[in-house]
Point group: C2
Chain length 357, copies 2
Amino acid sequence: MSAPIELPFETLSWQGGLDGHVRMIEQTLLPLEEKQIEVRTVPEMVDAIWRLAVRGAPAIGVAAGFGMVLGVRGAGPDDDVLELARETKRTLDAARPTAVNLMWATDRVLRHLETVDGDGSELKAACLREAIAIYDGDRATCRAMGELGAGLITDGESLLTHCNAGALATAGMGTALAPMYTAHAQGKRIAVFADETRPLLQGARITAWELQRAGIDVTLLTDGMAARVMDEGKIDRVFVGSDRITRNGDVCNKIGTFQVALAASHFGVPFHVVAPLSTVDPHLHSGRDIPIEERPAEEITEGFGRRTAPQGVKVYAPAFDVTPASLVTSIITEVGIIERPDTEKVEDALRRGGVSL
Amino acid sequence: MSAPIELPFETLSWQGGLDGHVRMIEQTLLPLEEKQIEVRTVPEMVDAIWRLAVRGAPAIGVAAGFGMVLGVRGAGPDDDVLELARETKRTLDAARPTAVNLMWATDRVLRHLETVDGDGSELKAACLREAIAIYDGDRATCRAMGELGAGLITDGESLLTHCNAGALATAGMGTALAPMYTAHAQGKRIAVFADETRPLLQGARITAWELQRAGIDVTLLTDGMAARVMDEGKIDRVFVGSDRITRNGDVCNKIGTFQVALAASHFGVPFHVVAPLSTVDPHLHSGRDIPIEERPAEEITEGFGRRTAPQGVKVYAPAFDVTPASLVTSIITEVGIIERPDTEKVEDALRRGGVSL
């Protein structure tokens, strides 16, 4: 694997030693202001997670890992560090109860501490090491997917993405955007079209910001434009992320992804899903099994500070859709590319990734 | 044909005799306020058209016809009514130079006046009659398309539409919404899903308002949701309008329509285009020949009253897309339904409609 690619911004990182702090981009101010905040206590971290100053499943996991350090590092010689860690986990887990990566990370740190045989200061040092291992692991995963995805991109290509599966959702280069950052760093000339992604406009607010900040040519579209832009021959390839992939290769992602996949299929444009193996839920056999969250009506009727629909109108707002495996050209994971995914190929990749089925 | 269907609002109409006025809904206040304005002079009509108080190609045509009446009715015994009509036409035509229906209507009134053999007061009366004939013709066309389209709808169906091709775009029941109003008046229970239609949100602001106002069950979606909602089995049929249809049956309509058509095709949901024969441009052989207007970037980056994208980001904003005839189940016109349109069938319909090819 080649040297890590440096982006001109960092979503979050640990600064200094055990007495250090977390530095993160205050994402609520994007895209109009780029501001770093310093997080030094557990209540500050809970607040940052709750306010969405840090968002995106992998980034939340990394933040929670660091939060564990903030919770235990102040322990005195008479304090029970393990007990403090359990308490910190409870506090952090409550910040966003539906974020599975949050609980996954606090669990991982806690389980690691339970295996450490040492005094309080050794436990504290182990806590920092484990949190940084989570951070490093996330970055390595992004890098691996970026390399694999970039291998598909040739010089001069135009790419399309939907929502934000970028650096700002991870501690590294992101998932769907990792191939773009990598191809750009390799000197390939690329142009990216980004869907604005209603209702919450993550494409306009976040994807457009981070690509522009990294010096990548980015053009904003509304969510109804992909088919037209493909019809004009402007798109060579689609990269999207995923919130959940089922064993048969069906891909759950932000609402609107399915329509992009249909357009890509119509025009023969390759449709790539970039997602770490942890996105695959081995308990679900097909997309039919995925429960779809609904968003509040107000995000559609008054999403931008003023009302744009009649009072009392009904709204239906599924937050995600499921693109059937038959429309997916490939799933790019950190252990390899799954071409034309089906149950056999996905299970194969899970086994290679060490998941027992 | 059955009795006209009365909607609980009227987009625009002429009130009284030659000394009357135009009453219209002030559409710029929708969806939050329903207000009627009275237009009594040519400058007031130019202002109403320019401000988009009245919008939609057919409605603008009707408004312009009435505008001709406002321009000539004050003529004294020594005034040249024809000269006054020509002057009025020039003033009205400049209100929205790209609105072809505007010029079509002022032309039609002027040409009619040129055939009238009579004095000034006879010319003035003829002007009002011709303007009302345009109004009546538009309403009759909507009614005919509504009847044909409603014939396809069975009790209990859920329908989807994109943008606004409704009563508020015409002097009658609209185009795409005419089958819905007609089916509703026939006592069929229907539910309508309306795409919000970025960038200008005509679906959220106008379609949702007029269907709700008419007592039809309407639910708002964002533009990326149609495929998901169809995947859930919630849509039985799609009705959309059109801005231009080419001889081979390709359909130009508001951006986002093509993606709805692709989703409908994927799920086997019938996709109907409702458009008067005047929408067919016999000079264009296929959708490739249609020039596509681009919208200003600000409608996307600051469309909701505050900026939602980074400063300086590029935007690509085609206002329309072209759905290929192969994805169109039928085109519903005032002279009949063109099933699975192709060049032969479209030319056939044009001939039946009296268009010489």
